[in-house]
C-alpha cells in the first residue's frame, strides 16, 4: 500500500507495538560518515570560553551529561547570531545617520548596483557558517538519539493528563526516579493522543505517540528534583501534565526502588491509598479537599448517592468504585466529562483495595455498620470519631 511505502521512508520504526530496534546509525552509512567528523575537538576547544558565560540567563540548570554539550551548541549559535545581528543593525543605523536625506527630492550619488565579488562573499560566508552549525547540532543530536547498550530501561506511558513510569521490577510511579551517572533509556508510548516528554534540565524531549514506541535517553548527573513536562498540546489538562524527575545519588536508587515497591504493604491501608491516589495521578482531576475539579472530589464520595448521566442513582460502594477505576465509562457521574482514563492493568487489585480504604476514611459515611467489623481488623486508622456522630444526625 502506498502509505506503507511512505511510512517506511520516514518512519522506519512505524510498526505498531514493536519496540524500535536498530538505530539509524547502524543502518545508514551516510550518518556514520557524518558522525565520524571530529567536531568533538572543536567543541572541546571552545567550551572553556563558553563555560564562563552567564548561562543562567538563557538556560535552566544542567543536570545531564548532554546538557553542557547542547548548551555549548546553543551558545556558539548565539554568539554567531549576536555578531551578525550587530553587523546588520549597526550598518543599518550607521547608514541611516550617515546618509539620511532631510530634503525632498535629493538624489543619491551614483554607486554600483551590484558587485559579483561582494555577492559571492556574502553568500559563501552564510553557507560555511550554516554547514558548521549543522554539523555541530548533528553531532550532539546523534549522541542523544542513540542510547548506549547498557542503559537502564524505564517504560513510559503518557495518558491524558499524567505520566506513568514503569521500572524493570514492575513498580509504577507517576514521578520519574532515576539513578545518577547511569544511562537511562525511556521507551515511551501513549494511550490516547500525542504527548511529548520534556525534561528541560536534561535538554531531552521526545514525542510520545500512540500506537508506536519512541525513545530517548540521558545520563543524569546532579542529584536533585527537576521538572518534567508535556510539550505536545493534548487538551484540557495539557498544562497540568507535569511531573518531576528525581535523580538519586549513585548507589541509593536500587534501595529506593525496593522500598517504594513494598511501601504499600507496610503502612495502614488508608494511608497507602492516599499515597496511591497521589502517585497515580488521580489528584490531577480529583481533589482531596472537597472542591470539584475535572472529576468529583474524593471527600464524601464513599457511601453517598451518585447521580449518573443515564438517570440512575447509585450508592458509591466498593464495587461501584472498583468499576469506576477499571471501567470509567460504565457509570458516568452527571455533570462531568467522560475523560477519566482506565486504570485496568495499571493498578493492582490490592492497590485498588487500598484506594477504597482511603475513600472510606475521607467520607463521613466511611465504614458502614455491616463493614465495620472488617474495617476494624483491616484499618483502625479509618475509624473517624466524627463519622459515627455524622451518621446519627442523618
Amino acid at each position: 500500500m502506498q502509505f506503507g511505502l511512505f511510512k517506511s521512508i520516514f518512519n522506519p520504526s512505524h510498526d505498531a507495538a514493536k519496540p524500535v530496534n536498530g538505530f539509524a546509525t547502524e543502518e545508514n552509512p551516510l550518518l556514520n560518515v557524518l558522525a565520524q567528523l571530529n567536531v568533538g575537538s572543536i567543541l572541546a576547544t571552545v567550551r572553556p570560553f563558553l563555560a564562563q558565560l552567564p548561562d543562567s540567563f538563557w538556560m535552566p540548570s544542567q543536570a545531564s551529561s548532554k546538557a553542557a554539550e547542547v548548551d555549548t551548541v546553543f551558545y556558539v549559535i548565539y554568539w554567531i547570531s549576536v555578531f551578525f545581528f550587530a553587523i546588520i543593525v549597526g550598518l543599518m543605523a550607521l547608514f541611516i545617520v550617515r546618509y539620511r536625506s532631510r530634503r525632498q527630492g535629493e538624489r543619491a550619488p551614483d554607486s554600483p548596483n551590484h558587485s559579483l565579488a561582494l555577492e559571492i562573499t556574502w553568500t559563501a560566508i552564510p553557507v560555511i557558517i550554516s554547514i558548521a552549525i549543522f554539523v555541530l547540532g548533528f553531532q550532539s543530536f546523534m549522541n542523544i538519539a542513540t542510547p548506549p547498550r547498557n542503559s537502564y530501561e524505564i517504560l513510559v506511558t503518557g495518558q491524558k493528563w499524567q505520566w506513568f513510569f514503569e521500572y524493570p521490577n514492575g513498580f509504577v510511579t507517576s514521578e520519574l526516579h532515576v539513578p545518577e551517572d547511569q544511562p537511562v533509556k525511556l521507551t515511551m508510548t501513549s494511550e490516547d493522543v500525542i504527548h511529548s516528554l520534556w525534561i528541560p534540565a536534561f535538554r531531552v524531549k521526545k514525542d510520545v505517540v500512540p500506537g508506536r514506541y519512541t525513545r530517548t535517553w540521558f545520563e543524569a548527573q546532579e542529584p536533585g528534583t527537576y521538572p518534567l513536562l508535556c510539550t505536545e498540546y493534548c487538551g484540557t489538562g495539557h498544562s497540568d501534565m507535569l511531573s518531576v524527575v528525581t535523580v538519586h545519588k549513585s548507589g541509593t536508587f536500587e534501595q529506593w526502588l525496593e522500598e517504594s515497591a513494598n511501601i504499600y504493604d507496610t503502612i495502614p491501608p488508608a494511608e497507602a491509598g492516599e499515597l496511591l491516589v497521589q502517585r497515580s495521578g488521580c489528584v490531577q482531576c480529583h481533589s482531596l479537599d472537597g472542591s470539584p475539579n475535572i472529576g468529583p472530589t474524593f471527600v464524601d464520595l464513599y457511601g453517598y448517592e451518585q447521580q449518573l448521566t443515564d438517570g440512575r442513582v447509585v450508592i458509591a460502594d466498593e464495587n461501584y468504585i472498583r468499576t469506576s477505576i477499571l471501567e470509567p465509562m460504565t457509570d458516568l457521574v452527571a455533570g462531568y466529562e467522560p475523560v477519566m482514563p482506565t486504570y485496568a492493568g495499571k493498578l493492582k487489585d490490592k492497590e485498588i483495595t487500598y484506594i477504597i480504604s482511603y475513600l472510606k476514611s475521607a467520607s463521613d459515611r466511611g465504614p458502614s455498620e455491616e463493614e465495620s467489623a472488617e474495617a476494624e481488623t483491616e484499618d483502625p486508622a479509618a475509624q473517624d470519631p466524627d463519622a459515627a456522630s455524622a451518621t446519627e444526625e442523618e
Binding site: F6, F57, M59, F74, I77, P200, P210
Partner: protein
C-alpha cells in the same frame, strides 16, 4: 496596454462612468460586491483581512490576559484552548496567508505591469467570494462550539476531540481555493500581461516575489486541501488513516500538514520581502543593489521551501536519517534570506535615505526579521531544537518572522500604497509614532518569550510554573503596548481618509508603473501612454514643490539637477 481611450472597457460592471476614479466609478453595494475591478477587489480584500486581523488580535489579547497569572485569570482551560486555536487559525489562514498577495498584490500587480486588470478578473472575484465564505465558516465555528485542536490540527487529538472541527477544517479547505485562484491569476497575469519592453528582469522585485508566492500557492495548497479532507473523513467515517486506534499513523498527518504549512510560511514571507525590496530602493533614492540576486533568491526560497517540512518533526519519532536530511536542507533556506538582507543594506549604503513612514516600517522589518531569521538557526540545528521544540522559544521565533516580518511589511506596504489606493496623504509624524510604539511593544511581548522558552516554558500552557510569571507579565504588558501601537497606525490611516491632504500622483518618487497612474487610479488604471523605465531608476524624476510629489523630468529639456 491601455492607451487612454474613452471607449467602453469590456469588463465594466454595468455602469460606464469614466469620470472620476475607480472608487467613484459605479456606486452602490452591488457595484462593489460584484466588481471585476482588481483594485476594488483588492480594497475589499484589504478591509476583510484587516477585520480578520482585528478578530485574531482580540483573541491574542485575551490569551495574553489569561496568562497574566500562573493559574486561571479570566477564563477556563477549555476556553483558553479554544482562544489560542482561533487566534492561530484566524491569523494564519485569514490574515497572514492572504494578507499581502490578495490585498496589496491584487491592487498593485496589474498597475505595476501597466495593465488594466489581472488576466482572469472573474476568477479574481470568485477568489474573494470564496475567501468571504471560508472566513464566515471559520467564524461560525466559534458559535458552533469552538475548536480546541490548535491551528495545526494534530491527529489523533483533532479526530477525537469535541467541537466544530469539521466546520473549521472545511473552512480551511474552502479558503485554500481562494488562495489557489489568486495564485493562478498572478501566474497567468505575469506571464501574459507584461507590457512590451518589460522582460522578466525588468520586472519590479515585488512582482518576482508575488510570482514566486503564486507558484507555492498553486503547488502546495492542494496538499493541505487533501489533508483536511482526510481529517474530515477520519472524523465522519472513521477511515483510519491517522488514528492509531484504527490502524492509522498520526505522524503521517504531520508530514502532510507541514508539506503545505512549511511552504505556507514562505507564502507569508516572500511577498513581504518583495514589499521591502521596493521600499528600501525607493526611500534610499537608489537602484536596488543586486537585483538579480534578489529575484533568484525569491525563486530559490520557493523551491527550497518544499524540501524542509520535516524540520517541524525533529522529535516526532521520524527516522534519524530523515531528521538529519531535513536539518541540512533547512539551513539552505537561510542563505537566500541572508542574501536579501545584505542586498537591502547595500542599497541603503550611500543612498539618500528618506525616513518616511513606509521606510520606517521597512527598517523595523529588517530589525525584527533579522532576529526572527537568526533564531531560526537554533531551531534548524538538531541538538538545540530538541530542547527548544514546542517551547515559547518557537512561539517567539515565528512571531518575529510572521508578525515582525510579514505583518510589519504588510503595514509598510499599506502605508506606501495608501496614497495611491485612496488618494489621501496621512500624517507622517503620527505614522512614525505608531511604528515606534509597535516596535517597542512587539519586542517587549516576544523577546521575553525567547527567554522563558529556552528556560523550559512549553507552549499552549494554560497554567504554568510560577517562576515564569515575570516573563509572562512582561509579554502581556508588551502585547497591550503593541495593540495601542496598532490602533495608532490604524487611526492615522482612518484620519487621512477624513482629513488627509490630496495625494499627488507620485508622493514617494517611485519609478514603477503604478506611480504613473492617478491617485487614486481611474477605473481602467491608465489614461495616458506609459513611460516604461527601469523600475529602480530614480533619475528621470524630480520633486515638485507645488505638486508636493515627484514629476517626470521632461526628457526634451536638460535634466534639472536637484
Amino acid at each position: 496596454m491601455s492607451t487612454g481611450a474613452t471607449t467602453t472597457v469590456d469588463h465594466v460592471d454595468g455602469h460606464d462612468h469614466h469620470e472620476g476614479n475607480y472608487l467613484t466609478a459605479g456606486r452602490g453595494l452591488r457595484s462593489w460586491l460584484f466588481t471585476l475591478d482588481h483594485k476594488r477587489i483588492g480594497v475589499m480584500y484589504l478591509g476583510t483581512i484587516l477585520f480578520a486581523f482585528l478578530l485574531g488580535g482580540i483573541f491574542a489579547l485575551l490569551v495574553r490576559t489569561e496568562l497574566l497569572t500562573p493559574q486561571q485569570t479570566i477564563m477556563s482551560a477549555d476556553d483558553y484552548n479554544r482562544m489560542f486555536t482561533l487566534h492561530g487559525a484566524i491569523m494564519t489562514f485569514l490574515f497572514i496567508i492572504p494578507g499581502i498577495p490578495a490585498a496589496l498584490g491584487n491592487f498593485i500587480l496589474p498597475l505595476m505591469l501597466g495593465a488594466k486588470d489581472v488576466a482572469l478578473p472573474r476568477l479574481n472575484l470568485a477568489s474573494y467570494h470564496i475567501y468571504v465564505i471560508g472566513s464566515l465558516m471559520a467564524v461560525a465555528s466559534i458559535l458552533a462550539g469552538g475548536v480546541d485542536t490548535g491551528w495545526t490540527f494534530y491527529t489523533p487529538y483533532s479526530t477525537t476531540t469535541n467541537g466544530a472541527v469539521i466546520l473549521v477544517t472545511l473552512s480551511v479547505f474552502v479558503l485554500g481555493f481562494s488562495s489557489i485562484f489568486t495564485g493562478i491569476n498572478f501566474i497567468v497575469t505575469v506571464h501574459r500581461m507584461r507590457p512590451a519592453g518589460m522582460g522578466w528582469f525588468q520586472m519590479p522585485l515585488m512582482l518576482w516575489a508575488l510570482y514566486a508566492t503564486a507558484i507555492i500557492q498553486v503547488l502546495a495548497t492542494p496538499v493541505l486541501a487533501i489533508t483536511v479532507l482526510l481529517i474530515i473523513a477520519e472524523r465522519a467515517l472513521g477511515i483510519g488513516i491517522f488514528d492509531p486506534a484504527l490502524g492509522g499513523d498520526p505522524v503521517l498527518f504531520q508530514h502532510f500538514f507541514w508539506f503545505y504549512s512549511h511552504p505556507a510560511v514562505y507564502i507569508m514571507i516572500l511577498p513581504a520581502m518583495g514589499v521591502i525590496s521596493e521600499l528600501v530602493a525607493i526611500f534610499s533614492r537608489k537602484p536596488i543593489f543586486g537585483y538579480k540576486a534578489i529575484a533568484y533568491s525569491s525563486i530559490a526560497i520557493a523551491v527550497f521551501s518544499f524540501l524542509v517540512w520535516g524540520h517541524h518533526m525533529f522529535v516526532s519519532g521520524q527516522s534519524e536519517l530523515a531528521v538529519v536530511i531535513f536539518s541540512a536542507l533547512t539551513f539552505s533556506v537561510s542563505i537566500p534570506s541572508a542574501v536579501k538582507v545584505f542586498n537591502w543594506l547595500s542599497t541603503m549604503y550611500r543612498g539618500a535615505i528618506r525616513l518616511e513612514t513606509p521606510m520606517v516600517y521597512a527598517l523595523v522589518f529588517i530589525f525584527l526579521f533579522g532576529i526572527g531569521g537568526l533564531t531560526g538557526l537554533f531551531l534548524a540545528s538538531l541538538a538545540t531544537d530538541v530542547h527548544l521544540h514546542d517551547s515559547y522559544f518557537v512561539v517567539a521565533h515565528f512571531h518575529y518572522t510572521m508578525m515582525g516580518g510579514t505583518m510589519i511589511a504588510f503595514l509598510a506596504g499599506i502605508y506606501h500604497w495608501w496614497p495611491k489606493m485612496f488618494g489621501k496623504m496621512f500624517s507622517q509624524k503620527w505614522g512614525n509614532i505608531g511604528a515606534i510604539v509597535i516596535f517597542v511593544g512587539f519586542n517587549v511581548t516576544f523577546f521575553s518569550q525567547f527567554v522563558m522558552g529556552a528556560k523550559g516554558m512549553p507552549r499552549r500552557y494554560f497554567n504554568y510554573p510560577p517562576e515564569f510569571e515575570i516573563y509572562h507579565v512582561m509579554s502581556s504588558i508588551g502585547s497591550y503596548v503593541l495593540a495601542i501601537g496598532l490602533f495608532i497606525a490604524a487611526g492615522v490611516l482612518v484620519h487621512s481618509l477624513i482629513a488627509g491632504k490630496k495625494a499627488p500622483v507620485n508622493p514617494w518618487g517611485g519609478a514603477t508603473l503604478e506611480w504613473q497612474a492617478a491617485s487614486p487610479p481611474i477605473h481602467h488604471n491608465f489614461d495616458s501612454p506609459l513611460l516604461l523605465t527601469n523600475p529602480y531608476d530614480y533619475t528621470a524624476q524630480r520633486w515638485d514643490e507645488a505638486e508636493q510629489g515627484y514629476v517626470p523630468v521632461d526628457p526634451e529639456k536638460e535634466p534639472q539637477t536637484t
